[in-house]
Symmetry: C2
């Protein structure tokens, strides 16, 4: 398991799609989540900030949900981009997904001051709809499981 995502799909989103609080490289206050391939799994690594606490010492569940959310749309984008013959860093703009649904099962209290690793498995359930199953680890402890249904962003979305 690598400790750094070298080529992330979010690095290649166009500027107009790069303002997401969770994963936009242009959102100064945001989390700047980055998702790449790790073998045939997808990987997002994030160390929560001190304020991302539920009770002192443990990570806020909504932050874990946010990681699973953006990891999900990023993973779906990676998978469709791969299906189209591309990979992050090759200079081709990837597809952009939105979240249709998000589910999180919180299994154990998640300790702070540890980088969290979200590891995803992507499955195409429709050409425009992908399911991403995610496990979130703090070191070797599985703390949460998630599922995102990610949908290709409609062309009209920006104009609405």
């Amino acid at each position: 398991m690598v400790d750094y995502v070298k080529h992330a799909i979010q690095d290649d989103y166009s500027d107009e799609y790069s303002h997401c609080y969770g994963c936009g490289r242009l959102n100064e206050e945001g989390l700047k989540l980055r998702t790449g391939w790790n073998g045939d799994k997808t990987l997002t690594i994030y160390e929560p900030r001190a304020e991302h606490t539920a009770i002192p010492g443990f990570v806020y569940g909504g932050l874990i949900g946010s990681i699973i959310d953006c990891h999900g749309t990023g993973s779906a984008a990676l998978a469709l981009h791969k299906k189209n013959g591309h990979e992050p860093g090759d200079g081709i703009e990837p597809p952009r997904f939105v979240t249709g649904s998000l589910h999180v099962d919180f299994l154990k209290p998640t300790p702070q001051e540890v980088p969290l690793k979200a590891i995803g498995t992507v499955e195409e359930i429709h050409p425009k709809k992908w399911k991403v199953t995610t496990e979130v680890y703090a070191e070797d402890t599985l703390c949460a499981k998630g599922e995102v249904i990610a949908v290709v962003m409609p062309d009209t979305f920006l104009k609405k």
Copy 2:
């Protein structure tokens, strides 16, 4: 429908339980979500910050998930407190819940610059486990539906 929650359950949590990024009154960087009764429903009102964007003009889904999460634990606390004969503001410390699971269905893009209202229905499914079904509105538009399974926080949680 009121526009302000006068007595919120989070106002009465003890200091040690008031550091949550989502709903802790002592978390300076947090969202400070506040949940109270509105008739037999529960209500949380929050206007997302400018940076809480998915793409410009629309609210970040992870933020909506965070609202549903804390609204869920807060609603469960309200309901158990009521079952025990209490209400926010009566000077009795309420029970504190943790999130067992979180589910969000994103129905429509959620516009920014509008206060969001999360309206919850609480159901006891076990003395220590409550289900909270939530609808999130931007003005009159239902933008997301959520479900939280909230569990009474174990006494040992703070000591772990």
